[in-house]
């Protein structure tokens, strides 16, 4: 009758709309974290399509999704059939691998699978009214600090790591030349700094991007975020200044193709080509445009084609024991950051 017929039509419409399908055009699905969207959409994706067409005569359509790194990882684990994942944290790619979707060792690529790099930096209002110069300034009373919630934002994890690591570096400096502080005392200094800065945090957005938009709405005196988030905003004439502390962490962002999906979609060749394209000069230039640092700068592997000086006390995530260790010691249920937040709430 009429009603069942209507249902059949509806069902068909729902099921088949949006399901693209085959034909001559191959399709590649990208899941990227939110920050480098412009680089991908404006430069990298069109350039890759041109180069692929030149090389193989084939047209490839590229679908892309941009969102928080962790959310993208979870979506992929939950069934989002991205062919390539370019995320902010290696930990997120590891989660995807743990779910069985990535079966190759993505760390064997050039630069250990990393395609973009930056550092954690501070953004202040034009004229730097609160006189922020070093990390300790963020702990001063009356200074409002912004960074997102590490539970939901990969960027925030980098930020907290930067503060904690800076604290460790400061402990070293306090101990004096030639002397090394004990692990406990260094950790105490680091935790103390983190606590005093966290105390000045009144707003924790759920992603790095949202944190910057909150800052742009006039909230907060100083924002802790990726340097490559601040540089383009300043380039767009926003009234901010950027301060890169001497002690900060070297950020590297990985990429990997998702084996299960590329094999299901028969696009392995395209995906591999895309991943290596991300290492190419063209792609790297696009990242540099957006304020990323050259890949080898920290390890002084490549000549520094950049006007961005290397921070003198730069450290890497490896110096702190790696992401596995940090996820528990800093962000775990009994981690340093978690305890700090709870203590602050209790007024301790």
């Amino acid at each position: 009758m009429f009603i069942p017929g209507l249902f059949a039509v509806l069902l068909a419409w729902v099921v088949f709309s949006g399901s693209v399908m085959a034909g001559e055009t191959k399709e590649l699905m990208l899941a990227v974290y939110s920050v480098p969207k412009e680089a991908y959409e404006r430069t990298i994706i069109p350039a890759f399509q041109r180069s692929w067409k030149q090389r193989t005569g084939q047209d490839v359509r590229i679908r892309s999704s941009y969102g928080a790194s962790g959310a993208q990882a979870r979506a992929i684990i939950g069934g989002f059939d991205a062919d390539v994942a370019a995320l902010s944290l290696e930990g997120d790619l590891d989660q995807i691998a743990k779910a069985g979707l990535i079966s190759h060792d993505w760390r064997t690529g050039p630069h250990k699978g990393m395609i973009s790099a930056s550092v954690v930096a501070l953004g202040v209002r034009k004229g730097n009214p609160k006189g922020i110069k070093v990390w300790e300034d963020l702990a001063k009373p009356g200074v409002e600090v912004l960074y997102p919630n590490p539970k939901t934002s990969g960027g925030a994890m980098w930020d907290v790591v930067a503060i904690y690591g800076a604290g460790l570096k400061l402990a070293e400096q306090q101990a004096g030349a030639g002397k090394r502080p004990s692990a406990e005392s260094a950790e105490a200094v680091a935790a103390g700094l983190l606590k005093r800065i966290q105390k000045n945090v009144k707003v924790m957005d759920k992603s790095g991007r949202e944190s910057v938009t909150t800052f742009e709405r006039g909230v907060g005196d100083v924002i802790v975020t990726y340097e490559n988030e601040l540089l383009p905003r300043i380039k767009s004439h926003r009234p901010y200044e950027i301060i890169v502390p001497d002690e900060t962490v070297w950020i590297e962002n990985p990429v990997a193709l998702i084996d299960r999906h590329v094999d299901r979609h028969h696009v392995r060749d395209i995906a591999e080509a895309f991943v290596s394209f991300l290492h190419s000069e063209e792609a790297q230039a696009a990242f540099a445009e957006l304020g990323f640092r050259p890949m080898g700068q920290a390890a002084a592997q490549a000549p520094a084609h950049t006007s961005l000086p290397l921070p003198s006390q730069l450290f890497t995530i490896a110096d702190l024991g790696g992401w596995e260790k940090i996820s528990t010691t800093l962000f775990g249920p009994r981690g340093a950051w978690t305890t700090i937040v709870e203590d602050l709430a209790r007024g301790k």
């Binding site: 209507l6 892309s64 969102g67 069934g79």
Partner: protein, 265 residues
């Protein structure tokens, strides 16, 4: 006079809570001029978003009208065990946060699940495609039509329908020619609220759609994307457009009501 005080307080309440923020939104969306507003509202991503929202809303509207009516009829006219639970469950979608609404769809249709693999073998994508987006919106809009129809059905009773039956009409005729017309306004209200709510659905769809550019970005997801791209004018412009559409629908409804009431008196 209390009358002045009351009316004034209500205007104040509405202004503070509703009118003020919306006006501010309107002003912000024209921050860079009318040309910029127009450009943002007509660019491909925005248009795709509008189209997608329209599609989802249309499907959801039809589903809700059909199943909402059936549910209302069954709730009011039939007595059976479990009726209390059924009626208590209907309003639950209001209290489910969109994060959970999206998450539960992933729990149900994810790759390792029965339903997920079932649809997978059929070649049908549920999650990160239209079906999941429609399901999420269906979940959020379910209460509206039911809640509009149940009191009506209660007030109307079955007398007129019985009368029609004794006059020789069959079930289908009774339904089409007696029941449906009497429920007309319930449908109109339910449809209006469903459409308004479907247009505004955001959180759950964000989780289950994959947020794929030019493929699964509804109008509200496009607003979010614009916002995190620092394109505030774009975000505000599209938001204002959505609001204007909803407000237009609501106003038309008000005017239609007023006209009908006028012709009846």
């Amino acid at each position: 006079m209390t009358r002045r005080l009351f009316i004034g307080s209500v205007w104040f309440y509405f202004a503070l809570l509703l009118i003020g923020p919306i006006l501010y939104l309107a002003v912000q969306s024209f921050d860079e001029g009318i040309a910029a507003f127009w450009r943002e509202v007509t660019k491909p991503e925005a248009l795709h978003g509008f189209m997608l929202t329209l599609e989802i809303t249309a499907i959801v509207l039809v589903m809700n009208l059909v199943f909402g009516t059936i549910t209302a009829l069954v709730l009011v006219r039939q007595h059976f065990t479990g009726r209390t639970i059924l009626s208590g469950v209907i309003d639950l979608p209001f209290s489910v946060s969109p994060v959970i609404a999206g998450f539960m769809l992933i729990l149900l249709f994810g790759p390792e699940t029965i339903l997920g693999t079932f649809f997978g073998t059929l070649g049908v994508k549920v999650l990160f495609a239209m079906p999941a987006m429609v399901l999420a919106t269906l979940f959020a809009t379910f209460p509206f039509v039911v809640r509009e129809l149940t009191p009506l059905l209660q007030t109307i009773g079955t007398d007129t329908e019985e009368a029609a039956r004794t006059l020789g009409a069959n079930e289908w005729q009774v339904f089409l020619k007696v029941t449906l017309p009497m429920l007309r306004w319930g449908f109109v209200y339910g449809a209006t609220l469903t459409v308004a709510r479907a247009i505004g659905e955001f959180g759950a769809v964000l989780v289950v759609s994959g947020n794929i550019l030019m493929l699964t970005q509804t109008a509200t997801l496009h607003i979010y994307q614009s916002y995190v791209d620092f394109n505030y004018v774009g975000a505000n412009a599209v938001a204002l457009t959505l609001l204007a559409v909803s407000f237009a629908i609501l106003t038309v409804l008000e005017l239609a009501k007023a006209k009908t009431a006028a012709t009846l008196t």
